[in-house]
């Protein structure tokens, strides 16, 4: 949830950690971590399944067929059917598509806003106080409250939940970016850029941002897992994607009504969420360990 979700262990960027993601040695180290590699491969497959869902699903995920209602897995329907007789494989693939889209859009948007705020706070010291105070306040509130408040105003639905997830992603990324950018700001090449009269915008986006990119990227990976978890929780309590939309949290909530005689309807989407979030967490942790070995306790 959750922030609904537990916040991942803090990632404190150090000088060595910034601007190194593209080095081959990093990838070599990462490739030695079997769990991380497994997580990465799993995520690639899951994303591919989500992207290709409209072309590879065996049935229409919205096609009701009450004759197949709550059937257990069989040769024709590999994961069985839900309460309206819809094919669970097709719904699962479309569910992954919706859930991942919501999570990725929210983290990309929230991450971008957060990164820009963090860069501005680090570069323009005058802005640091006001930006960071607002960020601290946002950070101090449980993410689920944003979900509740935004759903109260805009009504329940995929759109309002994506906005809530975006807002929830901003403060953590802003803070992490600022910390990384402050380290980069100490470097001589930034002073050199200033000395040759380079514009602020160019310094920020051509030099500061690329050198903080790896830190931001690692944190985005960890954030994505938490965002997906929060989005699924909000959908589960009825504030996110609305039926008949195939979304993993909504599907799990759907299956709740048949829990005692057809547990597969809620178990399959819940298990999918668990695996996806676990993969993002394992990969994020491994990336952090490789980029900042001091934290590998």
């Amino acid at each position: 949830m959750t922030e609904t979700s537990a916040t991942p262990a803090p990632f404190l960027p150090n000088q060595a950690a910034t601007g190194r993601l593209l080095r081959p040695s990093i990838w070599r180290k990462l490739s030695r971590d079997k769990a991380a590699m497994l997580a990465a491969v799993f995520l690639v497959v899951v994303v591919a399944l989500g992207v290709l869902a409209p072309w590879i699903t065996p049935y229409d995920p919205y096609d009701n067929n009450l004759r197949n209602m709550l059937k257990p897995p069989s040769a024709a329907f590999w994961l069985g059917n839900d309460g309206l007789g819809r094919d669970m494989v097709s719904r699962l693939l479309f569910g992954i598509r919706t859930t991942l889209t919501m999570g990725i859009i929210a983290v990309a948007a929230g991450g971008s806003i957060g990164a820009v705020l963090g860069l501005l706070a680090a570069y323009f010291r005058r802005l640091e106080g006001p930006i960071m105070r607002v960020v601290d306040v946002l950070l101090s509130f449980p993410s689920i409250l944003f979900g509740l408040a935004i759903a109260a105003v805009l009504g329940a639905g995929t759109f309002s939940i994506t906005i809530a997830l975006t807002v929830a992603a901003v403060p953590a990324i802003a803070r992490i970016t600022r910390a990384a950018a402050l380290v980069v700001m100490q470097q001589e090449y930034i002073s050199a850029c200033r000395a040759i009269g380079m514009s602020d915008g160019r310094i920020i986006f051509r030099h500061l941002l690329p050198n903080c990119a790896s830190t931001i990227f690692v944190y985005l990976t960890l954030q994505l897992g938490q965002t997906i978890l929060l989005g699924a929780a909000l959908s589960f309590i009825g504030l996110g994607a609305q039926p008949p939309t195939a979304e993993l949290g909504t599907m799990a909530a759907d299956g709740r009504n048949f829990l005692f005689f057809a547990p597969h309807v809620s178990t399959i989407p819940s298990f999918a969420i668990f695996l996806i979030v676990l993969a993002f967490n394992v990969l994020g942790d491994a990336l952090r360990d490789v980029l900042d070995p001091r934290l590998r306790q």
Partner: protein
């Protein structure tokens, strides 16, 4: 000490005003006219206009915010559009069960998390450490509703050990205790992982410090070193981190309450939002945010009590 508390109170004021402003704006942007709601379905246009004037809804927005603040300070959050009872009454009935649920979850999850974290730190790198940490990562990745659903399915339905719907009454009754077991297991279950992880990190740091080496050098038994020297010192950051995770617990509480039909603030908020009962939703969100601020404040003070260095800063 008093100075520290005063300082913390002072910096909470802008946040408090911010929260109230958001609560106020929530009611401004929703597509319902409070005067029409108060007047009831049979009111004439003239009556609605009179109520509108009396409620100050024709005033400029900053004046309305002032009126809103005064009303909130007097404990008036409006009336529920569905039950027509005062929002404050509805909230008063639900705050207790939420606090009860959170405490019942913390009371078993925090000690267990600390024990597991300590075990992992002491046996660092060994199989037990790896298993505990793997379970902890899995716990952080687990959708809370799935854990709850599994408990309902097996413990509640198949084995029929505990009830899984609603609250059975006060905690000192058998029925009350019976009903809280599954919700508290669900909410506490997802909390063990983070606590174990924090304890392990904090304890590892302390185990590497000079005073632990001194204790070992003077021949103190390993058990005593860990329990009386290292663990006591490592618990200070753990207390703060647990405090910071209260928000996470609150999020979990909203889901758990909905899942187990537990009559708490979270379920009230979700119900109000899905039925477009704006006044009630706003009140519930306000109470959740304010109680969260209060808990943060308490944790900060507790931190200063536990660690004299914080006071000196």
């Amino acid at each position: 000490m008093l100075q520290h508390i005063a300082h913390r109170l002072l910096i909470s004021i802008p946040v408090l005003i911010g929260v109230l402003l958001v609560g106020f704006l929530l009611l401004q942007v929703v597509p319902t006219d409070p005067a029409t709601v108060v007047a009831g379905p049979t009111a004439t246009h003239v009556e609605i206009e009179a109520i509108r004037e009396a409620m100050g809804l024709n005033e400029p927005i900053y004046v309305q915010f002032g009126i809103y603040l005064t009303r909130v300070l007097q404990g008036d959050l409006g009336r529920s559009m569905i039950s027509n009872s005062p929002v404050v009454t509805e909230l008063a009935n639900t705050v207790g069960p939420t606090i009860e649920l959170m405490l019942a979850s913390l009371i078993w999850a925090v000690p267990l998390g600390i024990v597991l974290g300590t075990l992992a730190a002491v046996r660092r790198g060994r199989m037990s450490d790896r298993i505990i940490m793997a379970v902890s990562v899995a716990g952080v990745s687990m959708p809370i509703f799935w854990f709850g659903l599994m408990l309902i399915q097996y413990v509640g339905f198949h084995w029929q050990l505990f009830p899984f719907q609603g609250r059975g009454g006060p905690l000192w009754t058998l029925s009350g205790l019976d009903h809280i077991v599954l919700p508290a297991l669900t909410l506490g279950g997802v909390f063990i992982g983070p606590v174990a992880r924090m304890t392990r990190t904090s304890l590892l740091e302390v185990l590497g410090s000079d005073f632990v080496r001194t204790a070992r050098a003077k021949g103190v038994s390993e058990r005593r070193v860990v329990v009386s020297h290292a663990l006591r010192n490592s618990l200070i950051p753990v207390v703060t981190l647990i405090g910071l995770q209260i928000g996470f617990l609150l999020g979990g509480a909203v889901v758990t309450e909905t899942l187990f039909a537990w009559p708490g603030v979270g379920r009230l908020a979700v119900g109000a939002i899905t039925s477009a009962d704006y006044a009630l939703a706003q009140g519930a969100i306000l109470v959740l945010a304010l109680s969260f601020l209060l808990v943060n404040l308490l944790v900060d003070v507790l931190y200063a009590v536990l660690d004299p260095r914080v006071r000196a800063r």
